[in-house]
Symmetry: D2
C-alpha cells in the first residue's frame, strides 16, 4: 500500500482581465500545478504570478500545453500534423520553463490539456509525440500519462520519465478511459464521492467504472478539482501528499 500520492490541478487559466479558477485557494491543497501556457488559456503575466504563487506554497510546477485556440479553451479538436503538435508542445514547455527558471524552480512535468490530452488518451502516435516532445526538452521532465491508456505504452516506448495519473472527480469507462464531459454526470461534484474514489484508487489500486466494473489503476498522481475533502481523507488515511517529482 502506497503511503504517498501527488495531487495535481490545472492552474493559471486566467487571461488578461479575465479571471478563471481560484488559484490562491487551490494552491494550498495540491502538490503539483499544471500551468496553462498562453495558448488555450493563461498569458505571460498570469504565468509569472502562478509560478510565483506555486513557489511560495511549495507546489511543483509543470507545463499544461494545449491547442492554439483561446476562444475554445483548447477543448476543440484540431487536425494538426505530428510535426505541428510536437513544435507546439515544445514552444509552450519552453515558455513556462522561462518563468520556472527565473524563480529558481525546475519544470517538473508536462501534461497535455483538453482536446489534445483526450486525443493522446486514445491515439498512441499522438501520445508518443507528446512523450517525445517532453524527452527532447529534458531528461528530467515527467510526462503525465493517464493510467490505463496508450499514454503509458507511449511513455515506455519513448523512454521518457513518466507517472501514471488518475482522476478523482471523473466517472470512468470500463476500459479505463474517462467518460466524456459531454455525457451528463461524468464530472463528480459530490466531495464525499470524489474523496472515496480517490482513496480507493490510492489505497486499493482500482476504480469502479460507471457500469460497476472494477478497473485497476495505480496512480502516482491524482488530478483533482474538489480538494479539501480529498486532502482531509488522505490525511486520515496517513497518506502523504508530495510532488510527483520528489
Amino acid at each position: 500500500m502506497p503511503d504517498r500520492i501527488d495531487l495535481n490541478s490545472d492552474m493559471g487559466e486566467s487571461f488578461g482581465v479575465y479571471q478563471l479558477g481560484r488559484d490562491k485557494e487551490v494552491m494550498d491543497y495540491i502538490s503539483s500545478a499544471n500551468i496553462a501556457c498562453g495558448w488555450h488559456a493563461g498569458d505571460p503575466v498570469v504565468m509569472e504570478e502562478t509560478v510565483r504563487l506555486a513557489k511560495e506554497k511549495g507546489v511543483a510546477v509543470g507545463a499544461h500545453p494545449g491547442y492554439p485556440d483561446l476562444m475554445g479553451f483548447g477543448r476543440r479538436r484540431m487536425e494538426l500534423t505530428h510535426a505541428e503538435i510536437e513544435a507546439y508542445l515544445l514552444y509552450q514547455m519552453g515558455a513556462l520553463f522561462a518563468f520556472a527558471k527565473a524563480h529558481g524552480l525546475p519544470l517538473q512535468h508536462v501534461k497535455a490539456h483538453g482536446a489534445l490530452g483526450n486525443l493522446g488518451f486514445v491515439d498512441l502516435e499522438v501520445s508518443k509525440i507528446i512523450a517525445r516532445a517532453a524527452a527532447s526538452f529534458s531528461k528530467e521532465i515527467i510526462f503525465v500519462a493517464l493510467a490505463g491508456t496508450v499514454m503509458v505504452q507511449a511513455a515506455k516506448e519513448i523512454g521518457v520519465r513518466f507517472v501514471q495519473e488518475a482522476y478523482a472527480d471523473r466517472v470512468y469507462n470500463p476500459d479505463g478511459t474517462l467518460q466524456s464531459r459531454k455525457i451528463p454526470g461524468s464530472v463528480i461534484h459530490d466531495p464525499e464521492k470524489a474523496a472515496r474514489q480517490a482513496l480507493t484508487m490510492v489505497k486499493e489500486g482500482y476504480v469502479v467504472a460507471h457500469d460497476g466494473t472494477k478497473v485497476m489503476v495505480k496512480p502516482e498522481t491524482l488530478c483533482v478539482v474538489i480538494l479539501q475533502k480529498i486532502r482531509d481523507e488522505l490525511k486520515k488515511a496517513s497518506i502523504t501528499v508530495k510532488p510527483m517529482g520528489q
Copy 2:
C-alpha cells in the same frame, strides 16, 4: 584593431503559409541568428526549422522577442507596463530556448525586436527590463545592446553579459541612435556603402552620421541585411566572423 566580428541577422520571420525572408541563403553569411518567437512573427514550426537550419550552418541562435502584434509585425509601439514587458520577454525567450535545447544548442543571446527594441534604445528603464529579463533567464545569455545608447548603461547596471551592436546598413544620427525608418534614405541599400560603413566601424571604431559627425562605435556584433559584400570585405580585411558568444 579587432580581428573578429559577429554578424547577426533577423531570421525565422515566416508564419504559417506566409514566407518572409531568404533564411536559407542568409544563414550562409551570418554567425548569429535573431529568431522571431511567434509574437510579431514566426510560429513554432518555423522556429524549429530555423534552429535546425542554424545548427546545420554552424550559426549561433538567439531570441528576437517583440510585441504581441503579428498584424503590425511588432513595429507599432504598445503602452505596456514594465511587468508586462518583462513577462512577455521571458515567455518568448523560453519558447525559443525549447527548440535550441531540443537541438542541443545554447540560447546564445537576446535582442529586442522592432518598436520594443527602438523603445529600449532611448528608455533606460525599458532597457533595464530587457537586460533583467535576460539575466533572470540565464547568466550565460548575452544581451545585445545598441552601441551608444542607454542599452549599454542598462546592461552594466543590471550586470548582464552583453555585447555592443552596430548596424551596417542603417544611417546614423549624430547622437549614435539610428535614423528612423520613416525617414527616406535611412536604410542603406547600396552594398558598397554598407560594406564600407561596416568596415569603418569594425576597423576604425567609428561611423559617419548623416550630418558628417564621426560617432565612436566599437561593435562586437553587426546587424546586417546586405550580406555577401560585407562578408567579402571583412575577409579581405582579414577579419574573422564568429558568433558573439564564442
Copy 3:
C-alpha cells in the same frame, strides 16, 4: 429641461469560457448596449447572444470597437496609422452589424472602447477618423461623442449623426475630460453619488469637477455602470429612458 435620456453600458465582454460582466441583469436597466466586437473582448458566439438578449429586452445595439489587444482588454494604447484605425473600426462595426441584421435590429450607434476612445477624447484627427468610419458605414449610425471633447467638433466637421455623452460614475476634470482611471477615486462606486451626478447632468446641464468647477454638459446619453439607483432616480424625476436613436 429634457424629459428623456438614454442609458448606455458596455455589454458582451465575455470571451469563450471567460465570463465578464452581468449582462442579463444590466440589460434590464439600460436603453442602449455597447457591444464588444471580438478584438478587445467578445467573440462571435457572445456577440450573437448579446444581440439576442438586447432584442428580448428592447435595448438598442451599438458597436464598441477597440484595439486588437485581447490580452490588454483594449486598454493599452497602440501606435496605429489613421488608415489602420479606420479599417479596424469598419471591420468591427460590420462584424456586429451582421448579428444585428440577423436579428432584425439596426446598428444604432458606435462608441470607441478603452484606450482608443480615450485617444479620441483628446485627438481631433483620431476623432474624425472614428466619425468618418461611422459615416462611411451608414448615414443612420450614431457616433457617440463625449460631451466637452473634440469628439463633438469631429462629429460636426465630418457631418455624421451624433449624440453627446456623459459619465454618471466617473470623476470629471475641470476641462470636461474624464479623470484617468489610474488616479484612485476616479470611478464613483457610491450609487447615491453616481445617481446625483447623473440627475444633475440630465436636469441641470452641468457636472461638478473634482476641483469644484461647474462644467456644462448636456448629455443625450449617459454611460452607466451602477444602474438600479440611477434608474430609480430618473423615474422619480419623471425622466423617460429611451434609446438614443429613437
Copy 4:
C-alpha cells in the same frame, strides 16, 4: 448552351507585412473575388485595399470566411459546434460587408474557405448552417455551392439564393467531389488542361473524373487559379464573363 460564366478566385490573403497572391494581376481576369475576412487570412487594411481594387476593376466582391486559424491558413479542420460555425460565418460576412458598404458595393456572395468549405461539401448539416448564415444575413447574398455536392441540397432546403460552382484546375472524383489536395496531381498546373476542363464544363456540362467517368456539372461560376489561358479560351468560344450576381 450557356453564353456566360462567372470566374471567381480567392483574393485578399495577405496579412500585415506578409504578402500572398498576385491580386493586382488576377483581378484583371476574374468577375467575382472571394475575399478573406481576417480569420484564416487577410486583415482589415488588406480587406479595404482588396475591395477598393475590385471596385476599380469592376469585380464583384464576396466573403470568404474560414476557421479561426491564421497559423494553419484555415486548412486544418476544427471540431466546432453548429452554433459556433454559424456565428463565425456571420461575423466574417459582416466584417467584409463593412468595406463593401463603405465603397458602395453590395456583398454579392459567400463561399466557405479551406477545411470549412471541404466539410460543407460532404456534411449536409454544415452546408445548411453555411446557407442559413448567408440567408439570415441577407436575402440578396448568393451562397456558392459546389456542384454535385450536398451544398446544392442545403441551398434548396434553406431557400437561399445560390449558384453552382465548379473548379477549372482541380481533378474530380467520379462522385463529383474534388480529389484531395493531399493526393499528388490533384491540382492542375497545365494552363491548356485547365482551360480545356473549364470549357468542357461550361459548354458541354460535364467534367471527366480521374478514372474517366463523365460527371455532369453545369457551373454558373468557375473557381480559377490559372487565369489568362482560361479567359482567352472563353473569349474564343464567345462566352461572356460576368459576376454571378448580375
